[in-house]
Structure formats: structure tokens, C-alpha cells
Symmetry: C2
Subunit: 578 residues, 2 copies
């Protein structure tokens, strides 16, 4: 491609409304432009990256035996009513009416459509397992779209859905997809981790997320130093402290703690570590089976620990989604404000975290405004309540598999695989005949990859202060040839064209920067857009029979004899490496 | 691909609601399935065809120098308000609201979005010309979607938009696009014609449609026997008859024509040819500049000719879209019913077609219920009114370029190229600085191809009573290998696998039909799905060292020595033919 005939829409200034580095660099490098909130146009340079990601995803899905289909973006409400999601799905579902007033949505996902297709087309267990995927534009009407394509409303997604006659068959395909996702992210050249994920709300039995590691990631992901254990912090189990709970050593005493409303304030006031205190959070209980208000529940954690909301809302008896009680509800139920609550003589159901349940001589609120209790002990001063895993793990916690301790890093979720079981097939009566000629409800898995999100995640992971540093496999162009003074030097243009032809014939995606711009502008653009390899053709070099080469990650440039350029590149970035 | 692991969703019965052959065959061959009115899922076999069409379109667009982008499907209303189309566009525009109640549409086309992009990104004439395209899912909320993907609501389209500083530059790119479209349809292997098209309503200055010829086509397209002239009948000029109008020979006489309400009835009653009569149609006149009702206009044609509505509504003074006057309006204005109207003493503006203006001694309504006038002559019995080209051409008419006569065939429109001029750039203030540093409004062209529609059009043109006959370039698979009795004969399976590997390595898309089905079922499926080349591997053949070959268009099958299979195919369907 010749830059003079190509839209190089680089910006010098960082757009003010771009909060994260990938959003800033995608705008500055001219990869995307905002049309409206959460809606982005992919410019030529950005679309090249997107298509390369798409291609790798498609090739590996095909290799896995999955079959590509393309379902409509617009879906009729009837199917969503059948699965029950027309009502359940919140404001993110973009509902619309056609000219005849019928209800449709712009699909954020396609479980209903594929289940409808499969129940119509597949009749026998002999046709299973089957795994169908598509790469398609989806819409999720985010309340607050932000971070560019990282959390856009319209986005490109690969979604796959597998169907099975047995859970064992689902498990096999699930493993194939796990391996396929690893192959995809390996080929993309990204540093990623598959981690165990919560599957509570979708109701499946197993789930893994694939995260691109980046310090700007929104998710905390947890690894063991001593094993392969890895999980989203939402899911990572906080094991009970080792050994027995220490014996009581102090008497329970009520102390005045005026104006001390936070754990840190109380701990400091009493000259104790926060880990010697407990905090008591009041949340809504699960509604009764008749659908009536279930009242409130108290959750007790060690003062230095944080509540894991996902774990809490997955517990029987706790409302999902997790809903904190209001100040009024707390005062009415307990008789004091939130800062003075404690589990002693509390007239609410109580659930205590494993670590808090291991404390002796701890401090808690006295359920009396401005007072706390010290020297409190379970089973002496109050019964030990229901004990559960309620908290987020912390760095240094023991790994739940017993090997090593936990580390926490930030990740960007770019893939998610799920065993759905029969959630959709049951609701939509998707069955086939089994070996005995009987109707069997299908087992189902689903497997998503955020194709457009990967582009942003790759940048979050790979950039420096000069711009993007693309992994070779998804760079918009692999090689840039920058001409210096070409508009006055036919020799430079001729040498550049020769190299351009040579590299293209060898199979490289080459951008020939033949623009009539100052060298500094061209160098800056090629670095900003992150092209992995750069050759510079100049009169000075030609006089010495050399080209200048610089890799995007290199600190220094080097001179190569002209005829060395291709073999040098073939060594640095071999063709047919996949 | 192994058929045993692939969704071969063929149907024996023709679905009742499929009206045209391509819709029937796409369902029967398992290419698509209907999700809802005008919404189709592409099954694996169909998607392979769609992707091959898409790929050819992309490659040729890239070769033309156009730059691929991807704009959002969902577009904000503000841009459509700016161009004026938010109000003008009818019920086909799928309007929707996001969660905040803002107005959007699911884009049926992208003139506004690309014009907005270009006015923001391009600043100087030096960056022009530029031609941007995308291949994208679009939505047109057809009142009555039908004919499967031929006229679906959601469809895949290639749309391109070019920008220029001068009309000459637009003309150059227009010609490049014309050549590119020819290259695309050549590669697709379709019998097609570029034809002149009406561009009145979009207001551009020039327009060509690309039609796939098929007897089931919805459009009449017109060719000259003696030149390259080709046009949509909407556009094809009906030239004035040669020579002078004959001199009057009869007196004008009023005759009673009781109950004779049609041209044919009147002509028969008077023992005349319909070509000796004229018919007078009353339509609405153009609204005044102040927007007031412009009244009515009479259009006069020869009795045997048909009105060309596009030509009529493009005329100054005639309402667009063309609107026939109601019976009440006619009676009120003329004093008789529609069947008795004529131009003599008619108190309305009259426009007469060129052929009707050439008549002498003609018959027309007397503007008196149940009476006609015979022997009427222009300029003797009434003034010659305004003469225009009002009618559709007919087979045998002289070609408007003076060379040969016209033939009419049916076509399916699959592409359309347009000079838009400055319609959008003016309305949206899209300018760049010209050579003199002055703001210049951009010239614009647009170029569409109905990617999904091509799949249906290819079938309309290429099928027989056994199913689809794909052009080689877009067949889902190029070669089928059918095994007979393979589940009992390891030798058959082994020979089939060997051939399968051999053909794939030679670069062919091969479907190995290894299903445990009767031979008749397999043969029927391979013919229904239209795979161009078929090999049959059987025990009987292997005993003789042969395979059976049959081309999809062949009447007879033939036996080939096993080792001849690849060279034979290489000759019949050479690789790298593009």
C-alpha cells in the first residue's frame, strides 16, 4: 500500500474524552473514529487489524471442527419470550419495533436463535455433537459506553454454540474450545491467561474466561505461585485459615467509640489492627418462594477484608443481584447506624466469612450508636453463625489447591467459555431422539470472543510513549518503507519501489510511506501506528549502498546493505510461521 | 470437509411459502433458513457461497484502489436530519430509540455517515480522490419482504462512496467502478449486463445498474441489436417516429361508444387498431413553489403504449412520485369518467407522448360520458400540446442511438453505480480547500453491490430441475467425492480419503460425502446443492481401477482411471484461474 493513496489519519493531540491508553492510541493512530456514544467507524488502518484478528479466530474455529453460520442481527421477541429473557434482560437489550409494530431486538447474543435453529434442523443424536459459530456485529446498549471499542455498544464478536446428547460430550467440546482459544491467543501474540470464572448467574456448571494481561485491565485475576491455578477474583476461593480458632483471652466489654464510623477509625481509636475487627454489612435477603420480600441478612467479614459480591449473591438466602440495605432500613431493623452494627444479639440472619469466623477477642459494633464491643468471642458471647466464603482473596493468601500462594494481576476479558447445560434447550424444548428413540433435551455450551475488543486489549498490553507496538500477526502492515526526500530524488523512489515489490512478493504486508512529508512526521506516524519493521531509504544511505532498519521495539537503528534487507527481515519475521 | 460432520440440511419437499426458484432451492439445498419475515440465517453451506462472493467483491474493490472501512450499523438521527432524509425516507427506514430515548436508525445505506467522516478527516484537495467502501449488514424494513434473500429486510451489501474536487475526477472514478463491477461479475461467472439507469430521484447526473440476466428477473432491460446500447426500461428512450406526421384525412366526428370503457373495447367497437387511438391519463401536477396543490395534468399516449412512470414523474410539472388522480377528482375536473377523457377542449395542462403526437385521424375520448371522437388531428382540431417521451419502449422500437432495434430481457439488479454530485456534501457542508485555498464543496459518487442478493440471482440464472448449478467461483464446494457402501468397504473409504487429500492439496474445496446414506440420497444432495464436479468411489469401480466422474452440467457420467482424476479436474477446472 502506498501511504500517499491511503488514509493515514494520525492525530498529534490526545483527544480529551479518551480515558484509557488504547482508546487514545486508536484515535491518535487513526484506527477508529467515534460516530456517536459507543459507536465507532473503523478506518482503513484499524480495519486491517480487526480483519487479521477475525481471520485468526475463523481459521482456528474451522480447525476445531466448528461450522460457521451467520444469523440475523435483528431477532424476533417471541424467541426471547420463550427463553424468558425478554423480561429478564435489562436496558442493555436494544428493543425495537418494525413498521408493523412487531417487537424485535438487535441481538447482543444468539442463544435463542441458534437453539431455535437446532431444534428445527437436528433430529437425532447421530447428528451430534455439533458446534456452530458466527463472527458478527452485536449491540449492547451500555448505560455508559466508554473506553472506545473496549466497551462499545456496537461490537464485533465471535459467538459459538455447541449441542450435545450427554454432559460428557459437552465436556469434550468444552475442552476443544479451551484448547482452540489458547491456539487463537497464542497466534495473536498476546500474553493471556485462561482463568476459572463465576458461572452463577447464567446457571451453567463450568466457565473459563480468557484475559489479556494489562495493568489497565478492569478485572483482578488471581494466580498461584505454586501451581496452574488461575481464577477471576470473582470466583477465586478464599480458604479458611489453617488450624483451630484461638481460645478466648479477653472479656467482652462495651466501649464508647464516639464519631468513629469506619473500621480504620475504630481500629486506630482502639489501637488495634483492622484485622482484629469485624465489619457487618446488611444486605437484602432472597425473596421468598411466593415472591415476597425476604427481609435483611447480615454479612460479617474481617475488618481488613473486602466483600466479594458475586460470592455473596450466589449464596442461598441472599438476594441476587446483591442489594445493600438503605440507611433507613438498617436503622429500622437494628436501631443504630451502619457504623455501629455487630453480630452480637443482632436480630437478623447472620452469615460470617471463613476468616472472620476464625477470629478470637475481636471488635465489632455494639448495635448502639457510638459504641463497640471488644474481646468478643464466637461460641462464648454469641453462637457461631453460618460460615461461608464471602470475601475477595488477597495477595499472599494460600492457593485453594493447597499449592503456593496467590498473586493478583489485572486482566482484560477477551474470551469466555461456558457450559450452559440445558438452560435454553429445556426452556425452548430443543430435543433430539437418543439411541433408544426417546426425546432427549440437548446439553449446550457457548463460547464467545470479543473480536473488536481484542484490538484494544492488544494495545493496552503493547505500547510505549511513542505509540502502539503491534504483535506481528495483527499489525496493520508488517513493514514500513519510509522514503526521505523522494519527491526530489528519483533514485530514492526507485530503490524504495524495488524494495516494496521485493517484500510484497515475499508475502509481507508493506506500507510504502511515499508521502511528501517531513521525515520526522513520517517516523512519528510509523511508530504511532505501531508497524513492527521499518526501513528508511535515503540518498545518504544509497550512496553507501545501505538502508536503515529499525524494529518497533528496538532502541537503536542499524544500517543494512540493500541486498541484505529481505534476508534480514525473513530472519526477524519469518513467513509461514503459522 | 467431511459431510458426516457437516450440516447438510437438504429438504425433499419445496417449502410452500417460497415463490421463486432461488428461494425454493436455497431452502431445499440447506443454504438458508427463515428466522422471521425477511430475516434469514445462513447455514454453513450457504455461508460458504456468500463468503466467496464477498471475497471476490473485496479483492476487486481493493485492486481498484478503494479503501475498506467499517461504519456502524446503527446511525444517529442527527446526521439524517442534516441531509433531510430523516423525514423523507419512508417506512423502510428502521427507526429505533436507545435506552436514553435518543433517535437512531439501523442503516439501510451510509451516505450521511461517510460524508460526516470525510468532512471531519479530509482537509485538502491533495487528499482526493478517495473512495471508501465497506461490506456490511444493512436493514431495509420492506413492507412485504419476499423472495427469500432476494428481497430480505436484513442483507449483506458492499457500499462504496467516492469524493472528488471536480466532476472530471468523479467521472474517472465512476469509470473505474464501472470496470471494477464488470471484473467482479466476470469473476463470479454470471451472465450480466451494465445498463443505463434512471437517476432522477436521487438527483445525480449519471447512473448504471448491473443486472444478472434471468427470465424470473423483476426488471425489464433493453438492448439494441445493432450497438452496445443497454438500459433499464425505466430509462430507455422511446424516440419519435421517423418522418413527418401524416396529413389529416378524415373529419372529426363524435360517435357514441356506450359501455366501451377500455382502449381495446373502443378499438374493437370502432373496428380500428388500438394504435390508432390515444389514451388520456390524469395525474397530479407538481406542487407549487409555495407548496400548494398544483392541480392535475393530462398525459396522452398511443392506445397500444404503456406509461413509463419514472419518465413521467421526472418531468417538470408532474408530481413525484407519480400519483394518479382519483375517480372523483377526474369527474370534478373533466365532467366524465376516466374511460371517456380526451385531449380535445380539455381544460387541463396536457403532455403528449412523442408517438401519440405523430398520429393523424386518431380516436380519443370526447370528455362526454359514453362518447368518443374519431378522425381527430393535432393542430387542426386542437393545438399540439407539450411533447415529451412518456412511454415504455417496446421490442422492435428503434434504438435511441440510431443503430439497430430494441430487444427486451429480464434482469435482476445486483449492482448500481451513481454520480451523486453534491447532494449530500452540500447539505452537510462537506468541503475541502482547493488549489487556491478556497473551500470547495465535494463531488460524490456511490457504488452498491447486493452481496447476499447475488447468491439468489446466481441461482435464478443457473439451475435445472435437479437443483442449483453453481458457477465454479462461488460453489460452496468445487468437488464432491461420493463414497458408495463405504461403511462396509474399507477399500472404498481408503481410496476416497486418498483422493480427498490429493484434491485438497491441489487447492480444491472438496466435500467428501462419507455419510451412511443410500447412493440415491447422496447423488440427489450433491446435485441439489450444485457442486460442479462429482467423483464416485465404489467397490465396482475400484476393481477396475476407475472412478466415476460427472460434471454438474453434464448429461452423462464417465469412468476415469484413478490416477487420471486430478489431471482431468485440473483441465476441467484449472487452479489459479483468477
Amino acid at each position: 500500500m502506498r501511504a500517499s493513496r491511503y488514509l493515514i489519519a494520525t492525530l498529534k493531540e490526545t483527544p480529551a474524552d479518551a480515558e484509557i491508553i488504547s482508546h487514545q492510541l486508536m484515535l491518535r493512530a487513526g484506527l477508529t473514529r467515534k460516530l456517536a456514544a459507543g459507536l465507532y467507524t473503523w478506518l482503513p488502518m484499524g480495519l486491517r487489524v480487526l480483519r487479521k484478528v477475525e481471520r485468526i479466530v475463523r481459521e482456528e474455529m474451522d480447525r476445531s471442527g466448528a461450522q460457521e453460520v451467520l444469523m440475523p442481527a435483528v431477532q424476533p421477541a417471541e424467541l426471547w419470550q420463550e427463553s424468558g429473557r425478554w423480561e429478564q434482560y435489562g436496558g442493555e437489550l436494544l428493543r425495537l419495533n418494525d413498521r408493523h409494530g412487531r417487537d424485535f431486538c438487535f441481538g447482543p447474543t444468539h442463544e435463542e436463535v441458534i437453539t431455535d435453529l437446532v431444534r428445527n434442523e437436528l433430529k437425532s443424536y447421530k447428528e451430534l455433537p455439533a458446534n456452530f459459530y458466527q463472527i458478527q456485529t452485536k449491540f449492547r446498549d451500555e448505560r455508559r459506553p466508554r473506553f472506545g471499542v473496549m466497551r462499545a455498544r456496537e461490537f464485533l464478536m465471535k459467538d459459538a454454540y455447541s449441542f450435545h446428547i450427554t454432559p460428557e460430550s459437552l465436556d469434550e467440546t468444552y475442552q476443544v474450545m479451551h484448547r482452540t482459544y489458547c491456539a487463537i491467543f497464542d497466534r495473536l501474540g498476546l500474553d493471556y491467561r485462561p482463568v476459572q470464572a463465576d458461572s452463577g448467574s447464567i446457571g451453567g456448571s463450568s466457565s473459563h474466561e480468557f484475559h489479556v494481561l494489562a495493568s489497565s485491565g478492569e478485572d483482578d485475576i488471581v494466580f498461584s505461585t505454586g501451581s496452574n491455578y488461575a481464577a477471576n477474583i470473582e470466583k477465586a476461593e478464599a480458604v479458611a485459615p489453617a488450624g483451630d480458632r484461638p481460645a478466648p483471652g479477653a472479656d467482652m466489654t462495651e466501649v464508647a467509640t464516639p464519631e468513629q464510623r469506619t473500621i480504620d477509625a475504630v481500629a486506630q481509636f482502639l489501637s488495634l489492627a483492622p484485622s482484629q475487627t469485624v465489619k457487618t454489612l446488611i444486605v437484602k435477603a432472597e425473596a421468598t418462594e411466593e415472591g415476597e420480600d425476604g427481609g435483611l441478612v447480615a454479612l460479617v467479614l474481617r475488618g481488613d477484608h473486602t466483600l466479594n459480591e458475586i460470592k455473596a449473591e450466589n449464596l442461598p438466602g441472599v438476594a441476587s443481584p446483591l442489594t445493600m440495605a438503605s440507611d433507613e432500613e438498617i436503622e429500622q431493623a437494628v436501631g443504630c447506624k451502619a457504623g455501629s452494627i455487630g453480630p452480637v444479639k443482632l436480630e437478623l440472619p447472620v452469615i460470617v466469612d471463613r476468616s472472620a469466623a476464625h477470629l478470637a477477642d475481636f471488635v465489632c459494633g455494639a448495635n448502639r450508636e457510638g459504641f463497640h464491643l471488644t474481646g468478643v468471642n464466637w461460641e462464648r458471647d454469641l453462637p457461631l453463625p453460618r460460615v461461608e466464603d464471602l470475601r475477595n482473596v488477597e495477595e499472599g493468601d494460600p492457593s485453594p489447591d493447597g499449592q503456593g500462594t496467590l498473586e493478583i494481576r489485572r486482566g482484560i476479558e477477551v474470551g469466555h467459555i461456558f457450559k450452559l447445560g440445558n438452560k435454553y434447550s429445556q426452556a425452548m424444548d430443543a430435543t433430539v431422539l437418543d439411541e433408544n428413540g426417546k426425546k432427549a433435551v440437548l446439553e449446550m455450551g457457548c463460547y464467545g470472543i470479543g473480536v473488536s475488543r481484542i484490538v484494544a486489549a492488544a494495545i493496552e498490553q503493547n505500547h510505549d510513549d511513542r505509540g502502539i507496538i503491534w504483535p506481528e500477526a495483527i499489525a496493520p502492515f508488517e513493514v514500513a518503507i519510509v522514503t526521505l526526500n523522494a519527491h526530489k530524488s528519483p533514485a530514492v523512489m526507485e530503490a524504495a519501489e524495488t524494495l516494496y515489490d521485493q517484500l510484497r512478493q515475499a508475502g509481507y504486508d508493506v506500507l510504502l510511506d511515499d508521502r511528501n512529508e517531513r521525515p520526522g512526521v513520517k517516523f512519528a506516524d510509523m511508530e504511532l501506528t505501531g508497524i513492527p519493521h521499518r526501513f528508511v531509504v535515503s540518498d545518504r544511505g544509497l550512496a553507501a549502498g545501505t538502508l536503515e532498519y529499525k524494529g518497533r521495539r528496538d532502541a537503536d537503528k542499524q544500517d543494512l546493505n540493500i541486498e541484505e534487507a529481505l534476508p534480514f527481515l525473513a530472519n526477524a519475521a519469518p513467513r509461514n510461521s503459522h
